[in-house]
Amino acid sequence: MKFFKIIIILNILLFLLGCDKNEGNIILEGNIVGFVNLVDEAGNEVEDKSGVNVTIEGLTSSANTNEDGRFELSNVPAGTYNIIYNKTGYGSYKRFSFQFIGGDIPAMTYETTLYEQPKIEIQSLDISFNDNIISITGNISETSKYTVQAFINDSSNVSNLNYDYASYKYSFCCIPTTQFSQSIYLSETPYHRGDEVYLVIYFINSNEEYGYYDYEKEKYVYSSYKKASSVINLVLE
């Protein structure tokens, strides 16, 4: 009887092992190739496009671009992926739902462009609330082309991905200037007189016309978003 039991266990083991091996082969693998373009603050194409890190959300696969902006992610199993492009000083871009089958020839993704984040910094910032208008005036260190956007939330962890209200994007692209100003009417926002709100300012590269829609956070995102101010507490009185 013992021998009988051993045979059964052996059989089960054989069964599990035998089919496990095949399950690993079900999904095809392959490489994903793509090209990344870099645009600097002035709007010019950057010659050396190396050093952009490309990763796939949920996988350990990672690749860096070469001087031509080319990357190749190796041995990626078939699937639908979000591809993240990231470079210090250029922010990050996320391509959603890239469908990949795998095979002997690499798949190609559409070209992605990353825009350099504005290098300027805010030197002084004045925010006030009068006549149901939130007025923002800021000074920056040097004349430059840039775009400004303000985000407001009723919680202090306000950011470009966490807000109730996003202001219109004010572009100072054509006449470089050291000062920016913006007015937000209370009636445009979901707030009322007496509310306590938190406000933060972001810069965007003014050459970045189109960002991308983040389907998970349900927010429209620009790759060159750069936090330009600290979070400012404001009572609307």
Partner: protein, 262 residues
Amino acid sequence: MVKKQITMKTFKINNIIIVFTFFILLLIIACEKDTEYEELSGQLIGYVTLYDSDRTKLSDNSGVEIIVEGSNPQLKTSTDENGQFVIDNLKSGIYNIILNKESYCQHKLVSYQFVGGNKPATIYQTALYSQSNLQIDSLKITDLESKYFVEFMVNAKVSNQNSTSYCRYYLSNKPDISFENYITTDIVYNFSGNKDISFYLQIDTLKYPIGSELYLIMYPASEKNQYYTDINTGNIIYTSININKPSKVANITIPEVETPWW
């Protein structure tokens, strides 16, 4: 007593054999199912339209050779009169599909992702253009001596032209310029009967710095837009040009210009 013991043993051994066979069978069935899934395959159908040098559709679209690069063994077929081609038993995977016909411009569909399944996948309306017969006899580039901008005039003498045709020119800062190796490119038109093509060129000094050498080459083109992306370099490769009939390479030094006051 002794006899009975022997029969018991035989019974046990028989039992063991039955159980073992049963499991082996189960294993084969289970694993076979997986193997079937692994080799998901299907049919790929495509349509190719042929255009002659006047860019009019042909009624007979047959004889285009279709090669599925990346399939092993390599699958091949050709189009019928309607331009239809059918690839059977194509395994799930990524392929380059090459379209080839003598005296037509070769085209390539790069990194085509094929899933497979019960219904055919379809590639609609791929065009193949007849190679242009235009001959570019000479190519000249001259400086317009503009004050603030780098501006050139390009003149080409052409022959063997039977209808309104296109040319595609390429610019580079290296002498080994070709349709695969360039920095910028654009299309120019030539109207029927003209023996000269001339066009104006304004140069971006960020791409071609002052003092450097600019190289120019031109190819007869059958159409404006058809291309694929080179997976190694990322270059856009325009496919409706006649790669066998390039012009000679012309070159010029980028002149110095004044920076505009504005």
